[in-house]
Symmetry: D2
Subunit: 418 residues, 4 copies
């Protein structure tokens, strides 16, 4: 039976990489855990499917793909003579498998609306929970994930400019959105990885591949991740939830799923998660692992019919893809322009002054959110010295990592030609 399982079930078809071969029993057991299975119900790109109809892929697939790439990276580094023990290999593989386990539904959007804690922190709390269940088998994974392990390059395989997370998601998001240009030379980049003084570096002959990777990433930011229609949809979602919470706080009758009820009705703080407080008979982390995209989508579908004019209209727009107009600009909307928009909204859509503000959204988008690991990429020269990528390349790449900020304003279509 056991053997059967080992041989058969661990080969998984993946549209992006072909066959994915899980090689460890612990990895397989973690995959089968409800915490991990939940990721099947969290879309990798949130609302982007409203613009890219194929972008229905989930964090489940992404975690599998990153695990697959980790195996390849380990093999490459071992071939170049770097010692990675079996135990370390398994630990770093588990770390990448679980790196996103704490993601909330639509998480880039909802992290500050629905839950006041970063998904990274939740990931760690869930890993610790799993570690208890798996009786310490994740000890080393957690050390690597939190960068407390002596071999720092293992952490960098999980979280850095060239981590397996990023290599997978760029490939995968490019694949499912159909933005073929986002493709990166993943096989070659991995073959070019190396370790120098405990740091993850790139062999100098891989420099053009890295340049291409950086340009592809930039293209994906602007063409997909920060696509303006996607941004418009995300801010619509934020306003829907803001209004829902407001109504709930005011005691209005509001349909929710049981799990969403918990999160709309309580404003949990990081401390609550860390202490894992009990609410309605379950502790908060358990509630969290029951929350997925469907809770949000089902609620919004129902809210179309809610008596509140703001909630119903915004929910109708989101469910049926009647998105807002969005305009990008280098500078923020002036107070005067904002007034002009609000006046129009009051005239055409919502006379109430306060409620009118729900139909105007302004803010800033920036690619820096996607650039968290902003440490440099290092290149290993043939003479066994290292250089920063910017020195090694004869193209000025610094611009590529520079944060770009764009101001936006979203407003209803009814204001067209106003």
């Amino acid at each position: 039976m056991k053997e059967n399982r080992l041989n058969k079930k661990k080969i998984i078809n993946d549209p992006v990489f072909g066959f994915i071969n899980l090689q460890s029993e612990t990895v397989f057991d973690l995959l089968e855990h409800p915490f991990f299975q939940r990721l099947r119900r969290i879309k990798q790109l949130g609302l982007s499917y409203l613009v890219f109809p194929g972008a229905n892929h989930t964090r489940f697939e992404h975690a599998l793909g990153a695990t697959h790439l980790m195996r390849q990276a380990i093999a490459t580094l071992r071939l170049k003579g770097h010692l990675i023990t079996e135990e370390e290999a398994e630990a770093v593989t588990i770390a990448i498998l679980l790196h996103d386990i704490g993601h909330a539904p639509f998480s880039h959007v909802l992290e500050n609306t629905l839950v006041n804690i970063s998904h990274e922190e939740i990931s760690l709390l869930l890993m610790q929970e799993l570690n208890r269940e798996f009786e310490g088998k994740l000890d080393l994974s957690i050390l690597i994930f939190t960068n407390q392990y002596k071999k720092q390059f293992l952490h960098q395989l999980v979280a850095s400019q060239l981590d397996m997370d990023r290599l997978d998601y760029l490939s995968r998001d490019s694949f499912f959105t159909g933005v073929a240009e986002g493709t990166i030379g993943i096989e070659r980049i991995i073959k070019m990885l190396n370790v120098f003084e405990d740091k993850l570096v790139v062999d100098v002959k891989g420099i053009y591949s890295i340049e291409k990777f950086l340009i592809s990433r930039r293209l994906m930011y602007w063409q997909v991740y920060l696509h303006k229609t996607v941004v418009a949809a995300e801010f619509l979602l934020i306003n829907v939830l803001k209004r829902a919470r407001e109504l709930k706080d005011s005691g209005a009758d509001l349909y929710t799923t049981p799990t969403l009820e918990i999160f709309l009705g309580n404003a949990f703080q990081p401390k609550d998660f860390r202490e894992n407080i009990v609410v309605e008979g379950r502790n908060v982390l358990t509630w969290y692992t029951l929350l997925d995209d469907n809770d949000i989508l089902i609620a919004i579908k129902e809210w179309q019919f809610h008596p509140d004019p703001v909630l119903s209209k915004l929910s109708h727009c989101l469910t049926n893809r009647k998105l807002l107009r969005i305009k990008l600009s280098d500078k923020a909307l002036s107070r005067k322009e904002e007034e002009k928009y609000l006046k129009a909204i009051r005239e055409k859509i919502m006379p109430d002054e306060k409620l009118a503000t729900y139909f105007l959204m302004t803010g800033v988008i920036t690619n820096s959110a996607y650039n968290k690991h902003d440490e440099n990429i290092f290149v290993l020269n043939k003479d066994q010295t290292i250089s920063e990528l910017n020195e090694a390349s004869d193209v000025n790449l610094s611009a590529l990592s520079k944060a770009v900020r764009k101001h936006f304003v979203c407003y209803p279509k009814e204001l067209d030609n106003y």
Copy 2:
């Protein structure tokens, strides 16, 4: 504004075919209709994502893809000298766009559990509804869809052995499941289409492509559509809903979403849909267009915690992918074997005799369900005669379209080694 819309919004990124260019304003308006937008929330392959993690694609994408292929087929046939007017071209394009609009969530599974009407009939009812809204613009599409239009080959482009529906779904399902072998030579098959005496035929030089198409289809049946683990999941879902309805009928307290409530609480008959009766303030077709995959998945997630031991256990299994064992066989389970299974279930899982039966599922799977259009494929010879494919090919293809039936039994893992 208008022009803006025409130029920009009608190019859609599709991972399978690249850019899809919608060329008609009516097609675009239909695409934006809530009836069609609902398809974004209906997975093309139901529960198959439990086996093929990438199979999260939806009927929305499939309908778009089939529309894209229809445009190519029209261009090919026109190039070969067959008259297709602009009006006919638009009508047949709309027919394929809307061919699946009546699909229920998990429809192959739920058609006989949740609703007692075929999705084809609902599709027609919804098209007629849309036709009223669009003031008769769908008249010709409906004639073609129902095969009442004089040029029969137009209907065959929508529904036949070589329709655009099938060409798209085989390609698309192969793409998203990662079963690369399912790939068919779609571009060549379309180039080989022709019309002879008002019938859709294939040029004789395309005969090998058709053979390959038939073999690929067969491979997809057994490797994907009838994959035994998928079948096990589907019968689990059927039993979950059967039990839920039973509990509801018996007056038990049962969480549902508002829309699911309507369908669990009423046993609508085809007549109810045809007459579009009003229930709880909305007519039944409107309720239907509010129902999607998420209603089912959310309910099942909650039912894990229901006091009924059958409902909670089965729901837990489905939500967390603890699927049943399944065995295929050429002959049905004997009465005696069945008894043996039930006895084991009573001992290990559910002492109650009646409830125990929920944990044993038997039945037959057959590829004939996927073979509805079983008319022959005709080949156009160089001398302008036609032959049936079977005569024209020197391989005996009749076996390929033969229905294959396999008996199965599903039972809980706890019975292993029993």
Copy 3:
């Protein structure tokens, strides 16, 4: 230096499989040998590039690809518990690397025109020659190649219905001709390979992949390998060389390259190759390894301007792709029809009765030439018994391996509408 070579040079870019990683020093040394480098100048598909402009790939690339697949097959079989020693792995890899080393230019065409010995026999003679040079390092490879080694399945990896030769060439020829439908599920087929009682078999769950492989192969025969325009070009080439030899035998002045001179001027017999006789200061095998596609193409280009009307006209046709018409039929040309063609040729092209026959070619094409290894494919059932594929599949596949014969006649375009 040595290490440098091991690390760097052994990764080769292959358009079909990505990176090919040579893992053995002997394999690398054989690759660098002039005998093997010659394969760069022998096109894999002979004259097919006249129909498929991309088909310029060579036997060099094919041999590399097959070697790459062999490594994968070995890994799969080892994973399933079959013992393959390092020595055996290297030997079988070398056997596949060299399996085509004896190919003549345009070899399917010229084997009976220019040299009277099969390329398989030459391959063996050249392997023996290399073995002497490599001081016995190829002993085991030769045993495997000639099926004298105890583990028969190793031979089957090199030459059988499912050998790595065929898996590579079907993929590669499909890739370069652009006949995308020929694609086979190579990754999956290799994963399904197994060994049972020393015989190469296929796991039963791979049965649909094998069906698809057989259908793809059949499609490639008729769509590429036996494409009628390619056949017309090949018979043109045969007649050009036949006429050239005739002229040379008759003492006419005839341009050739030095190497072609040797083969046109001598009618070597297998015995001459086996004894490796000396001609014009070199032994015949050495002369053979100097002969490549370019010798033939250069001569024919020059022969366009030869005074002989047959040689010049046929050579002009081949060089400038003015190919003959070809008609396929189920039965041979009757004596009377042949006379009619010849009469027309005499009237329109070549009055001389004997020379006229050069412009009419008749014969038979059959896929059996591609079906040499006609032993059965065996399937390993789950109960550890084996069945023949035909029994195991519910499709009648015997037709697929049946030899199909088609008669053809080629004649000049000038006879159109005659």
Copy 4:
């Protein structure tokens, strides 16, 4: 018959773009002309196949591919409202079909060794020749090719930073070398083309695609076109031909093919081509159209056995891929270092002082050769103004078009560890 031809022969399988559909009879007739058929015997990437075994593709395929892209570009521009008459469309298609017709074998290498005239000038001379044969049908094509036609953007489709030539060759070379990273988003770039004030421009939303295109192009320069081993092979070829000419001039007996004989024996000047002088019974352009890769390769294969020690050794190296070592450096070899190399060569390989110099090659490689059209790329903003790409992009792209120069030295392997 005619119709037959139109329907059947004009669809060509292309591995890169799928089916290529020739839509014009004149284009088809030009394709069948011996001048164009010759391109089948000229490899697109010269000796690069010695490093990238798949790079056997020819200028014939490239010209077809560029023609295919031209049709798409025309369709895009027409859709955006720019007038291109049928006559202009055919003319610009012919111009791109024939843009490379004057290429010599290994032309980047041999242009200054074998013929003293640029391939562009020969292309024009051959187009004029074809125009006479086609009775003026190419008049407009020639005007466009030479940029004398009023609509300048048509010329830019043939020759500019974003011409169809470049879009095809980058895709195609990336495809056949297996350097997957070179892939550019060709479909999207073409969709983003526009015309503004008679100039070919790019819609602003295509800016990231253009950035990616420039980076891919740069990657292809250094990873493929200027790959150092390819450079080493090219300089070997130059020295082989230099020595061969020297021997011929000195009256030595030297094997050549008849056509190569003409070019080695005469040092034709541009004037000779323009006046199309007669040599040995044919005019020089006719001789030129008889020269192809095979003439060079056959001669070098024979020269392995020539008594001259320089010619034979260098020819042996090239034929059997025993390439020279190459070192790149930022600065030129000093006189002293050069002396050191030459001393070693005299000691180890060739005592004769003058002949020794044949084994040392120094020079400069630069990407500027691939950057001939160095005019700017212009971006069309949404407000219908245009900007230079560098202003429009927030990345500094000027570095990408900057010429990079690297000095190299090639020397025989025997000098290793010297």
